[in-house]
């Protein structure tokens, strides 16, 4: 617990009389350790601790009888500021359908998030239509179709008679665009007000696939692009978030597998690097395990 650690540090320091800036630096070392152990990116930690230090070396802390509590409060404040106060909701298009596209690394939880988002929005009176635009991963379309059947959503895997090309073939990319375009035509024809597009996992350093994603975005015309990030992602989170944000453009983040015990420092890193809010939290394997993200609960979790 950060409070306990800082309490211990300050008790040792008080023994020497009035607190100094150097004493506060010792305490901040503990803050740095706590954040690194939570997988917050090293560079983000350095910047964050520098910000905290500016406030922590003021009289507010140095002359306090409870310096540990003061420092923890500053850290929590700064953390919640960085994570974003209050809940960031989805924005909807003034001209339906609103299109939401999920993107991200392999296995982050995109396909599941697409189904979860559909379930969540259906529960709020929307009529979601899913487009299974991952033509690469074995049985990805089957996976979304199965989830659609289990929970009563329409899942589009391509126009009638559409033959899935070999994922490594040159036509795979154009076939993906065809699935998206034909899916949008169908969604409009059936007057769905929400369309959710699932895309294949890809590495942020795969130039071809990142280029393809920009083209898929062009075809989908999304109201929001959601970067799906696994809560256990480590230091690499900044590289991934930066690449997706700058190459493709994102509007928000879905943080998945928060039902585990990963501290989730990646959430802080992604927010710091992209400025985009985490909008939803994946809290389990079932389609109902999805909720609006709570930044202050996350801040507490990261601090440990």
């Amino acid at each position: 617990l950060l409070t306990t650690r800082l309490g211990g540090v300050f008790r040792q320091l008080r023994g020497r009389g009035k607190l100094s800036e150097r004493d506060v630096d010792e305490a901040l070392r503990q803050v740095r350790l706590a954040l690194l152990e939570a997988d917050v990116n090293y560079k983000v930690v350095k910047e964050f601790v520098a910000k905290v230090r500016e406030r922590a070396v003021g009289q507010e802390v140095l002359s306090s009888v409870t310096p540990a509590q003061k420092v923890v409060k500053i850290v929590q404040d700064e953390l919640t500021d960085l994570m974003g106060r209050g809940r960031a909701g989805l924005s909807f298009s003034p001209r339906p359908p609103s299109v939401f596209m999920v993107v991200g690394l392999h296995g982050a939880g995109k396909t599941t998030a697409a189904a979860k988002l559909a379930y969540y929005l259906k529960g709020r009176g929307h009529h979601p239509f899913l487009i299974a635009a991952d033509l690469r991963r074995p049985a990805a379309q089957d996976q979304l179709a199965t989830l659609g059947r289990q929970h009563g959503f329409t899942v589009w895997a391509g126009p009638p008679g559409f033959a899935r090309p070999d994922p490594d073939s040159a036509v795979a990319a154009s076939a993906t665009l065809e699935v998206v375009r034909s899916g949008l035509v169908e969604a409009r024809r059936l007057a769905h007000d929400v369309v959710i597009v699932d895309t294949s996992g890809r590495l942020h350093v795969d130039q071809d696939l990142m280029e393809e994603l920009s083209r898929v975005k062009g075809a989908a015309g999304p109201t929001e692009v959601l970067l799906v990030v696994d809560a256990m992602t480590g230091q690499d989170a900044v590289n991934v978030a930066d690449a997706f944000a700058s190459r493709v453009g994102i509007d928000g983040v879905v943080l998945t597998k928060l039902d585990g015990d990963a501290r989730g420092g990646a959430a802080l890193s992604v927010r710091a690097v992209t400025g985009k809010p985490v909008k939803f939290a994946g809290m389990g394997e079932k389609v109902e395990d999805f909720e609006p993200f709570s930044p202050d609960r996350m801040a507490t979790r990261i601090l440990g």
């Binding site: 690194l36 152990e37 296995g107 074995p138 590495l203 256990m232 480590g234 690499d236 597998k257």
Partner: protein, 293 residues
């Protein structure tokens, strides 16, 4: 120019940055750099080049000697069906693949099957993920690409029953290695970890010494939580190896050092892509060089 740079505090800071950014963790980074400082002094290292070499050496040592899959010998052709046996007698080899959600288990099982085929073995894939949507469809695509058949049950069935059927089928069909793919599960879900223990018990009853390999598949992009995953899965199942996937990205997976040091579990394979041949044996020195840069 960088090789000849003199050794100073800022150089050590840079190395610390590199290790931390590689998900090595603060504890291991501190320990490694302390050792580096001591050995650099003893070796009389005078420049950055020498220091980096020494660091590569230390990391390779900590990752331990290379370890391959340890499987019982395959029965010779025409020996009749393998099964219960003693000591080093030929019998069906059993490999169990486990890990948290989305790390690359199913793809790894396909890649292992591909590798074993190349070694002249006759693998049987046992698709024991009875939970995930379209798990069997996914496995069937891989089985088709490999030219292999596959054992599976309907969704919602007991994975231990699938494992049981899988081993029986292997014996009946003259297969010499069974690869058991299991559903992803967070290590924090005790009931689901217990389910794996039951699968393991069933395998152990069916073949002497099974599972001969229990591999934890971890995601190369994950941070220090992989250590906690390894701790729980090792405690429950006695792991024989780690497979670290998605190492074709920019993450370095440094947490494997902590896993080896804390639990003694070696990395056996590295996933470097999504194709059948994108699984390579772990090479500690090559890994250390990649990390140090």
């Amino acid at each position: 120019l960088t090789r000849n740079r003199p050794i100073d505090a800022s150089l050590y800071e840079e190395l610390a940055d590199t290790l931390i950014l590689g998900d090595t963790g603060v504890a291991v980074t501190t320990s490694v750099l302390d050792e580096l400082q001591t050995r650099a002094g003893l070796a009389g290292a005078t420049d950055a080049g020498a220091l980096r070499e020494l660091l590569v050496e230390i990391l390779s040592e900590r990752l331990g000697p290379a370890e391959e899959l340890r499987l019982p010998p395959a029965p010779a052709a025409g020996d009749g069906p393998p099964g219960h046996a003693q000591g080093d007698a030929p019998r069906t080899a059993v490999v169990m693949v486990v890990g948290v959600n989305g790390t690359g288990k199913t793809t790894t099982v396909a890649r292992l099957a591909h590798r074993l085929l190349g070694e002249g073995r006759k693998p049987l894939i046992v698709q024991a993920d009875t939970f995930r949507a379209a798990a069997t469809e996914q496995a069937l695509v891989w089985a088709q690409r490999l030219g292999l058949d596959l054992v599976h049950h309907r969704p919602g069935s007991d994975p231990a029953a699938v494992a049981f059927d899988g081993v029986r089928a292997a014996v009946a069909r003259g297969r010499d290695v069974v690869l058991v793919d299991t559903a992803g599960r967070l290590h924090t879900k005790t009931g689901l970890v217990e389910e794996l223990r039951k699968v393991r018990r069933v395998l152990a009853r069916e073949v002497e010494g099974a599972p001969h390999e229990t591999l934890l598949v971890i995601d190369g992009t994950a941070g220090l939580n992989s250590l906690e995953q390894a701790r729980v899965f090792d405690e429950a199942l006695d792991l024989t190896g780690i497979v670290i996937t998605k190492m074709d990205g920019t993450a370095r997976g440094g947490v494997v050092i902590a896993i080896r040091e804390a639990l003694g579990v070696p990395v056996k394979f590295v996933g470097v892509g999504e194709r059948l041949d994108d699984l390579v044996p772990f090479d500690a020195e090559a890994y250390a060089r990649e990390m140090v840069g």
